[in-house]
């Protein structure tokens, strides 16, 4: 079933040596400090420098953060969290700060300060960029947080679950360590299910098909826990009579290296994906409904690789909107009669620009669509961003910080909450249970698949 090509071999050769399996260390040590400062120096670009220098401590970003909005803990104010690195910047780069650090809030980086950074920058920030959208000075908090996270992760001080997810991805090519055999078996089963559902033996899930127009990626949660999502995607693509394929090599849409600002390993993952798409000669990489996965391959990959890949990238939400607008699929919204609201994944909206497409999809696919109070790029993070779901040590705080989102969901009276991201999906499902919201959480493709009119 697999199409093993020379290009595939090249990809395998490009795979890095297996990462050491040691767990993250429990605390920073004094010898980490010079290396962390070296990283800060190397990563200092104009966006980071201007973001560190421009903050005037006005505090207008405070209420933009879902951690603060839900708990009113002043330590969760974005400016305070960013100041943990800004203090180091002021001591190291600011002229007045070098002479009189106390005067401008400058501070030497110490293991104690680094521990505070670990607690708040991993444990109380999802790098959602909502604070930046509400900052009068244009401070890009995400670049500050990514730098701080990498300074810590490079010292092997990062949440264990996040490290494990990245290690597994780098070792096996996908973040859940799903073997090729397991994947193929799942996809063959789903193909049979799809054919039975449509009563159409021509409904296929093509694997490793050279020259297909679209190279469909998946979040590993799909083959592992949500195979019906793959069925929904395949149903839509079949209805649109689309030419697509799934690779059995680098099909994983995710790139958790983004969450620790690890450009080198993020580049490796992006390179595998790019080489796989290019070796199959596909025109487009079709990114699964995965917020950070879309952002990684659509926007960051070219920056990491230093070149534009020889294919275009489109999100599944974007393609569904395109099909609807072009009349390539027909939907019957009465098949989704319950009230639906939509949560915008931060990486897709605030960092990715997918803002109106989900609305085009929902208006065509459901009868009663209502917006959350804060929507589009102004949406509050659900709390599942930035790799937060892998950080079990911060789980209690993650759920507390979701209070503001839970209240907004409840206020809509929606019975279904749609989203376009697997991390959001899982976090929203947890919010649903924790706050007893009584909603169903679904991906957009599931609603579209339910509404499809197959001719």
């Amino acid at each position: 079933m697999q199409d093993k090509t020379v290009a595939m071999k090249t990809i395998q050769e490009a795979q890095p040596a297996i990462q050491p399996k040691e767990g993250p260390k429990p605390a920073f040590e004094p010898q980490d400090i010079p290396r962390m400062l070296e990283i800060l120096d190397k990563r200092m670009n104009r966006l980071l420098a201007s973001s560190l220098a421009a903050c005037v401590h006005c505090g207008l970003c405070t209420e933009a953060c879902h951690y603060y909005a839900s708990t009113r803990n002043p330590e969760f104010a974005p400016a305070y969290k960013a100041d943990l690195l800004r203090k180091v910047y002021k001591k190291r780069y600011d002229w007045l700060g070098r002479l009189f650090p106390v005067w401008v809030g400058g501070k030497d980086l110490s293991p104690e300060l680094a521990e505070k950074m670990y607690d708040l920058i991993f444990g109380a920030c999802t790098v959602c960029r909502r604070c930046s959208l509400n900052c009068p000075m244009g401070v890009d908090y995400a670049s500050i947080m990514a730098t701080a996270r990498y300074m810590m992760a490079a010292m092997n001080r990062l949440p264990e679950g996040l490290k494990a997810t990245i290690d597994v991805h780098l070792e096996t090519g996908n973040n859940m360590g799903i073997s090729e055999e397991e994947l193929v078996e799942t996809l063959e089963w789903i193909e049979e299910e799809l054919q039975a559902e449509l009563d159409d033996p021509t409904a296929r899930i093509p694997l490793n098909q050279k020259g297909a127009k679209y190279f469909l990626t998946m979040n590993p949660r799909e083959p592992k826990y949500y195979p019906l999502t793959i069925q929904a995607e395949a149903k839509i693509l079949h209805a649109a009579k689309e030419s697509y394929t799934i690779s059995t090599k680098y099909w994983d849409a995710t790139n958790y290296c983004l969450f620790i600002g690890d450009g080198a390993n993020a580049r490796k993952v992006a390179q595998w994906q790019a080489q796989d798409v290019e070796s199959l000669g596909c025109d487009y990489l079709l990114a699964a409904e995965c917020g950070h996965g879309y952002r990684s391959i659509r926007w960051e990959a070219a920056n990491w690789l230093g070149r534009q890949p020889n294919f275009k990238v489109i999100g599944f939400q974007e393609l569904m909107a395109q099909y609807i607008q072009e009349g390539r699929i027909k939907l019957d919204p009465s098949r989704n009669p319950k009230r639906v609201s939509y949560h915008d994944p931060c990486n897709a909206a605030k960092s990715g620009g997918i803002i109106e497409e989900p609305r085009i999809v929902l208006r065509a696919a459901v009868e009663d669509f209502v917006e959350l109070k804060h929507n589009r790029q102004f949406s509050y993070c659900c709390g599942g961003g930035g790799g937060a779901l892998t950080m079990t040590e911060f789980a209690k705080r993650r759920l507390e910080a979701a209070k503001v989102k839970a209240e907004e969901i409840a206020a809509t009276g929606a019975k279904i909450l749609a989203t376009s991201c697997h991390n959001c999906l899982d976090q929203l499902a947890e919010i649903n249970r924790h706050y007893k919201l009584g909603v169903e959480v679904k991906l957009l493709c599931e609603l579209v698949a339910d509404a499809l009119i197959i001719e």
Binding site: P74, E75, A77, A79, D83, S132, M137, G138, N303, Q308
Partner: protein
């Protein structure tokens, strides 16, 4: 009104020297900044970076574009008054030495009124910074000092431009000199760093189709 002797020296030569010093520090800062690598998406763009940059830079004039200013409209109004008064006060330091502005008359009355309002705003901002825990937590001595010293500057300006007294002029221009030397090193220099931050943010997220839509979208 004609100014003579030492006061005239303070108003002109000393100001020019302090201005030249300020310009030198800013040039050095900007050169340092431009030695750092720029950041620009290499992927095919969805939006227009130029529009993003313009919208981002114009954000200051669009309080409706951000939830933080839309909900806190009084804070935005204070911002306009405070910064407007700062601009008028700076303008006065250029007009007065050349007798283009007569203390106690005409335009100077408007400037004095603006400084009076800005003084009240400054006091309120100081109270806010002390009273709110999340602001106390992020405030350094420079944050408090900037507000205190600007309020003193407004008071000296009210004295000088309201009455035209020589003593008032001395205090006002000594404070102006102090600002020209101190500001490039303090948070007050945010007017130099702010356009860079907004530019880069606007270019990057305008290109991704996020920023320019922020104006149209509603919460």
């Amino acid at each position: 009104m004609h100014y003579e002797g030492a006061l005239r020296f303070l108003m002109e030569e000393v100001q020019y020297m302090a201005l030249a010093f300020m310009a030198m520090v800013y040039v050095a800062k900007v050169l340092w900044f431009f030695r750092k690598p720029g950041v620009r998406d290499k992927a095919p763009l969805k939006g227009d970076p130029a529009v993003g940059a313009v919208v981002s830079l114009g954000n200051i004039f669009m309080p409706w574009a951000m939830e933080s200013t839309r909900l806190h409209w009084f804070f935005y109004l204070e911002f306009v008054i405070f910064h407007g008064a700062v601009a008028l006060t700076i303008l006065s330091t250029f007009l007065v030495p050349f007798q283009l502005m007569v203390p106690g008359e005409g335009f100077s009355r408007i400037v004095v009124a603006a400084m009076g309002l800005a003084f009240l705003v400054g006091l309120r901002r100081l109270v806010r910074r002390i009273a709110r825990p999340e602001l106390r937590l992020i405030s350094a001595p420079d944050d408090y000092f900037a507000l205190v010293v600007l309020n003193l500057f407004f008071l000296s300006g009210i004295w000088a431009l309201g009455t035209g007294e020589a003593a008032g002029m001395w205090v006002f221009f000594i404070m102006t000199t102090f600002f020209l030397i101190y500001v490039p090193f303090s948070k007050i220099s945010h007017y130099i760093t702010y356009p860079f931050a907004r530019w880069y943010y606007g270019v990057n997220f305008g290109g991704r189709g996020v920023i320019a839509r922020a104006v149209k979208a509603s919460n």
